[in-house]
Amino acid sequence: MNIGSGRMKRLLFAMGAACVVMVMGTAAFAVPPTEALRIETNQTFTGLCCFSLGETVSITEPKKLVPVVVTFSTDYRSSSDSLVELSVNDHPCMKLQGMQAAAPADGSFASATFEWTIFPGDGLTPGNNKIVLCGGLDTTGASLTLGFRTLAVRISK
């Protein structure tokens, strides 16, 4: 083997570059802050379903679309039954789930968690996808207060 073998140097360089790319790639994809949201302020809504509740997460889909799972977990008080849904990429709200009226007399909150599976046919596209929480009351004049809550989306593997 030649001491200054060009082939060996190129191989060495390629391996080093591959390592750098691998490490940088890990760092770049380690923090997708838009995939999870935590809100620590109460917010009260009135009005019949359905309108945006103002919480958005987003996720990047590969070229070959795969389903995503969205989870919404919340404290709440509600003077009537409510509905929570999702809007995918600005499409109309869909995948309705019900939230029972709950207004504990001691002033505390009830809690509920909802999970949705969004399929490619629901409006997902390659690249960035925006998912917005929507909903509203099912009785005129009622109100819904959301307390501490989290919204998260993940690719289904």
Binding site: I3, C19, V31, A36, R38, S73, P104, R149, A152
Partner: protein, 161 residues
């Protein structure tokens, strides 16, 4: 000036490092410490907040990423309770919804209610590179004599990578 043997050694070292980089995430992707399942009832009494003796652990990469902890439980409770997490031994904190409403007498008789919480923990909440421990905590909100009986429950953590 490098000799062929030193180049070989360097190549071997690089290969081992690359292989390690590939293998380590695979190995840590399914860690039993990230999941906990409890199948026996356990009662806790007292004002918030104290440890409920359930922990999970996750390893953060050098660029610390948010994590999601989920807790799903059956329960009975004589008072309104709140539940949260202690991150790496810190103060019991609410990282999302927390309220657990009273249900029955917390003596194990009759049916149980159930709750499912998803909590989002951000790097600024005290996550560190390497091992991070999340311990379930909480307590009664109104009465020091309040009792919560946790039934079958699961606690899990995953990083957002």
């Amino acid at each position: 000036m490098k000799t062929p043997s030193s180049i070989k050694l360097c190549l071997l070292f690089l290969s081992v490092v690359c292989l390690g980089t590939l293998v380590i995430p695979t190995a840590s992707a399914v860690s039993s410490k990230e999941l906990l399942r409890v199948q026996q009832n356990q009662a806790f009494q007292g004002f918030c907040c104290f440890s409920w003796l359930e922990s999970v652990r996750v390893t953060e990469p050098s660029t610390v990423a948010p994590v999601i902890v989920t807790w799903s439980t059956d329960y009975q409770a004589t008072d309104t309770f709140i539940a949260g997490l202690s991150v790496n031994g810190g103060t019991c904190t609410l990282f999302g919804p927390a309220w657990v409403q009273p249900f029955r007498q917390a003596d194990g008789s009759g049916s149980f209610d159930s709750r499912y919480f998803q909590w989002v923990i951000l790097p600024s909440d005290g996550l560190v590179k390497g091992k991070n421990t999340f311990t379930l905590c909480g307590g009664a909100f109104f009465s020091p004599t309040g009792v919560i009986l946790l039934g079958a429950n699961t606690l899990s953590v995953r990083t957002m990578q």
